[in-house]
Symmetry: C2
Subunit: 735 residues, 2 copies
């Protein structure tokens, strides 16, 4: 082989290493402090890095560039092997969380539930949940395949099962430890996605023998897209209509065995097929399921909020706790939504790192463009203002997602813990409070999930384009990254539907506040501060403004969005009064959800950075840059939504070109000088990026060339004769 | 197998066939007339349908849903077989174009160039070019793989070779008939893409033996992304620096043999490797090439606009025609750009058809949402105003692309024919005129290519999301469609770079017009009418307005963009005067290019529809709908760019919510009633759509289910035991 691989380091053309190193050294930012900020706390940061280290150095779990050449069946098999490996890590992580390595039989004892060990609780899974979340950034299909079992199957049981059912399925049967049974989540049907209330699968109660008969009444009722169903799952939670004595009680959840746990043979009456090729995540064995008179015992109805009592004398009663029944039905999806905001941070950080490094290392066009001198130093891409506009705001976006993602995650665990506690204690007053909190969690998680999965889809797409053709190479992560990512905009709550529901709830709160002066500041003060009636009144009377031109007034960068939200809500309210047709306003409602997310992101970032203890950033230079990122984020989206700001008269027409846009470009130029450090601060190792044009050393061309040639060795005969050359030669020489 | 496949046709839930058929029957639109409009003329329309019919019914060329399950090597091999098939069609198409089936040896006679037959000209390829363009809509990687050979390799020789060179390579050697040699196009290098002038490959003239030595001086000079290089190409045109007696004359084009045409062994000094996996179009064997002292004869320098004379006594002279040398270097890319605008129409029509039919057939959520009644008729997706907003403007976009795509194609052929004619005749005055026309073609093709490939990328992505999870299934075409499509935003001129160059040329024309009153109305009156100095003066003095509220004033829907363009250019001109830094204005320049494209699209559509003979639409109902589509397109983008319109004070803040948005939603609701007919009017057969949720009969669920089960048969043992079940069972039963 005679490959040329030299680069002349004295050649003024192409020395990405030099540029990247130079900018790295020149930056005065404190990377350590920033990384702690991004990882929430020092303890969490340490854990993150320990887990990344373990994942990326485990021979089975590691993911290198050969990943991009796997076909569907290879992906599925490798994923299954990785799941088996993760099961061992899970045991290890539970032991670590309990700080209990003395009881060698800890896992068996938990499964036997013999009272030697306290029941499993969510704190036992803190480490493993984080491990899974980090794996999502390397091999998303793996984390989904495990996430369906633990997150959807598990959380559906946790959210809808009684304490006994939870202990039975998740601990004694071993589901939580990935032992004994493997679950899937049969909600979606071929004909119904978002409209869960109209699912068609039936579960008819047989009072004579205390069983249910599960049926798929017609083609559109086929369970569809069920992750893990095609090959992995032994059990499923099934969303089906509870029918008792001919009466339809709506959709409830049931545990249905699908396969024998030893032989993996399908249970009788269960028909399963493979969904086949998808846009991405082919390592997940999504399947379809049809039920033909499948019989399950009465105990398999998950009944935390529903009671089915059969007196045996034809007297069957059904009692539902309506307030929580509805919420709990969806609660399994909540965890996924919360996780997707965290995924948005992690996925975004990965692609922002790759694109930033490439933009600093790649040069194109000399100032003197006569084309005659091939030795002239060309301009680094990142030095073009347009390129800064394409890169820097995306970097800022990722910074703004982190604090809100961690806060949402914490709120989620607190609220769910509270819900389990009070519903087990049957404390009805407390239930009302926690259900209000849960509703807020639904609103903000929906708005943040929809907004950020959309933003990050756009981020991946736009950053890929900044890498030109090299972004289109599968080895540089963007292609598969995008394909794997975009399903997040559709599943576990379609982004459009989520945006509408969260906006409608906000609109309702706004109506209560504006018309009735109702505002529960303890409940809503944090997330919905802009709905405080006194603030609304100030906006109404134009007493409140946000002066973006004053950099020192940091709160104005949040306030401007609070005002926009109120003005938009007023606008919608007026329109609604005229036509009383909420559907006709849905384009505006989607914006409400987006503006709410932007507001929350700015507010959470501000709160964290303002507080030295919370932010861990004491270095003044670093802090100043972090505030610039905060300002940039706000200003970038003001410019993006300038149409809305101008329509609602928050700004005058000239403000956009005289104030907003100059500020935007000024901030980008300032942040640009530290962009390598800001990308480094994500502290993602090369084997997590898995994209040679973004590796830490900046040796873009060698690294990329090496990965391509490693995965595509030249023909062994060295002659370059293609496998299908007969087809070509006979064509070229045809008479 | 016990699959349930029944749908109860009397069940009020899920009857997509009924909806689609009903709306089809209810529409009064004249589909025939619309299709003729969209296909430009009756003759072209007939040809289109004949070719589609041939392509989709040829056993080798047909593409069905199994396509979505092919791995990379399968894709490459099948593509090679399809190329061999296409070579036969090409011969057939040349014979048809010449209407000459009597001379059985026509192709051989052409290749022998024995004077029996006139030389091949572009009219010989009219039919085959269209065939290839239609294939791009079914199997884009196939058309690219042929397009690189004919379009890039062929057009590079046509644009840069002398008449003798053109005849030799393309006719006598057989390249144009896909015989004898197969070409690739080695322009891009690992380190240089858009900046062609700085490519590093060298071609050093050896005066002692009249040869060139081609070398790859270092890693970044490796030819990269070269379609067909990995396995198919026997020859390449190579962009390399011409160096004569130590002097660098800049980048010129050379024909370099890569492989023996019989054995396919690599020529000595040629090192080739496979680029490997890509985001899409894996059927193309993109490769990298390095040259180690490869020797080629002097005749292989393409020298239409350059003369290299070796007197043999050490007296070597190089003469370049600078005006055309530069343009011709890029002219090979021009054809691709023009074709991509046509691709935008065809690709857009495909996904608009699929999403429209799905939106009409799919139902979700009943008006009564109590979830208790599973028999209530649910709402068709398309009846939600938000869904109309997501679908109808995309449908309108496709309608607006068609006329401009055909016009651009016609202009391209006319201008190139003129260029060949006058440069062969060495008519220098005529050369000045045609080079000005060529420059305009560069501007508009760049602006239209960039804008429409971006618009259609967004169209595919957004329409996929409207199909929910089913859009994520590979079998419904969106995933592979997007992956195959988006490279169009990067290759043959990166969209950002193209937008900037076209906008800078427009800005220059504007400067000449506004400051010097210079405007060549014969040359620029059609495409750049808004640069007429009298119009500019009227905009300056606010004498001209566009009243969008008046539906009857059709021209105002174009005028509004003309005003926006002038106002934007004035804005940029002022900013430039202040800072003299064009790079800082590049975000605005990209918009100029986009607004220019929108303006051209509206203007071309308007001109065509206004003229009954041109439009072929005589039916009044149909014509009224077509005008509504025209209005909607304009209004939709006004709303999208409301920030720009408000900043530049074309509208007052309240106009957007009081005039523009109500008009937008009103137009969508009107067009919605005919949306099935408007999708049908593309007349794409199911086997061109290759997406069961979009098939003509509207039987969404059966069709989709059938394709999934056909490509993923249940395990033959019927038991559903997965291939990797040992990995799972041993994990689940581990101690």
């Amino acid at each position: 082989m005679t490959k040329i691989s030299s680069i002349d380091n004295n050649n003024p053309v192409f020395n990405p290493v030099k540029f990247i190193q130079r900018e790295r050294e020149a930056s005065k930012l404190n990377i350590d402090q920033i990384n702690t900020f991004l990882e929430s706390t020092s303890e969490r940061r340490d854990l993150t890095h320990r887990l990344i280290n373990e994942i990326t150095n485990d021979r089975i779990l590691e993911t290198d560039s050969s990943y991009y050449d796997l076909n569907k069946s290879q992906q599925r098999e490798i994923t299954a092997n990785k799941i088996a490996r993760l099961a061992l890590y899970m045991e290890h992580d539970i032991k670590t969380a309990r700080n209990n390595f003395e009881n060698k039989n800890l896992i068996q004892d938990l499964q036997k539930n013999n009272g030697k060990e306290p029941l499993l609780s969510s704190s036992d899974f803190t480490i493993f949940d984080k491990r899974l979340s980090l794996i999502a950034n390397i091999d998303p299909q793996l984390s989904t395949r495990v996430g369906v079992h633990l997150g959807l199957f598990g959380n559906c049981i946790k959210g809808n099962g009684t304490d006994e059912q939870i202990t039975y399925w998740l601990q004694e049967r071993g589901a939580s430890m990935i032992r004994g049974i493997y679950g899937c989540f049969a909600m979606t049907e071929l004909g119904h996605g978002s409209n869960v209330g109209q699912l068609q699968t039936t579960a008819i109660f047989n009072e004579s023998n205390n069983t249910f008969t599960i049926n798929t009444p017609n083609l559109t009722a086929t369970k569809w897209w069920i992750g893990g169903a095609a090959h992995s799952a032994t059990h499923s939670v099934v969303y089906a209509r509870l029918i008792v004595k001919g009466k339809d009680y709506g959709v409830k959840t049931f545990v249905v065995p699908l396969r024998n746990t030893k032989t993996f043979q399908l249970e009788t009456g269960v028909v399963i097929g493979d969904i086949g090729a998808k846009m991405g995540r082919d390592g997940i064995d999504n399947g379809w399921i049809q039920f033909n008179n499948v019989i399950i015992p009465k105990e398999n109805l998950l009944c935390r909020f529903i009671q089915l009592t059969n007196q045996g004398n034809g007297d069957v009663t059904v009692k539902v706790q309506p307030q929580l029944d509805q919420i709990s039905g969806y609660s399994a999806l909540l965890s996924g939504r919360v996780n997707m905001v965290m995924d948005s941070f992690r996925f975004g950080s990965k692609f922002a790192t790759i694109a930033t490094r490439y933009a600093v290392g790649r040069q194109q066009f000399a100032s003197n463009k006569d084309g005659k001198n091939s030795n002239q130093e060309e301009v680094q891409l990142i030095n073009y203002p347009l390129h800064q506009y394409r890169i820097i705001p995306q970097l800022a976006l990722v910074y703004l997602i982190s604090p809100v993602a961690f806060k949402l995650m914490d709120t989620y665990y607190e609220t769910l813990d509270e819900l389990y506690r009070v519903s087990t204690a049957k404390d009805n007053n407390a239930l009302v409070t926690v259900s209000a909190k849960l509703k807020n969690l639904f609103i903000s998680s929906a708005s943040l999930k929809a907004t950020n999965t959309w933003f990050v889809a756009q981020l991946i797409d736009e950053l890929r384009q900044t890498c030109g053709g090299h972004g289109y190479s599968q080895y540089n992560a963007f292609g598969k990254g995008y394909n794997d990512w975009v399903v997040q905009c559709t599943w576990e709550g379609d982004n459009t539907v989520l945006s509408l529901t969260s906006a409608k709830s906000i609109l309702k709160k706004f109506g209560d506040a504006a018309q009735k002066g109702k505002f529960d500041s303890k409940l809503d003060g944090d997330e919905f501060g802009y709905l405080d009636p006194s603030f609304i009144a100030e906006v109404y009377t134009n007493q409140v403004t946000a002066d973006i031109s004053d950099d020192s007034n940091l709160e104005s960068f949040i306030q401007v969005w609070a005002i926009l939200l109120v003005k938009s809500l007023v606008h919608i309210g007026k329109a609604l009064k005229k036509n009383n047709d909420i559907d006709s306003l849905s384009k505006l409602l989607v914006q409400i959800s987006r503006f709410h997310a932007i507001y929350l992101m700015l507010k959470t970032f501000h709160e964290k950075l303002e507080n030295d203890k919370e932010s861990h950033i004491t270095d003044e230079v670093t802090k100043a840059t972090m505030w610039n990122i905060f300002r940039l984020f706000s200003v970038y989206y003001i410019d993006k939504y300038s149409g809305e700001f101008l329509q609602l008269k928050l700004f005058k027409a000239d403000d956009i070109s005289n104030v907003i846009q100059p500020k935007l470009f000024k901030l980008m130029a300032i942040i640009r000088t530290d962009c390598i450090a800001l990308a480094d601060a994500f502290e993602l190792p090369d084997n997590m990026l898995n994209a040679p044009i973004g590796f830490f050393d900046g040796d873009i061309y060698h690294n990329y060339f090496n990965e391509v040639t490693k995965n595509n060795p030249q023909e062994t005969n060295g002659a370059g004769i293609p496998p299908y050359y007969m087809a070509l030669t006979s064509m070229l020489s045809r008479e």
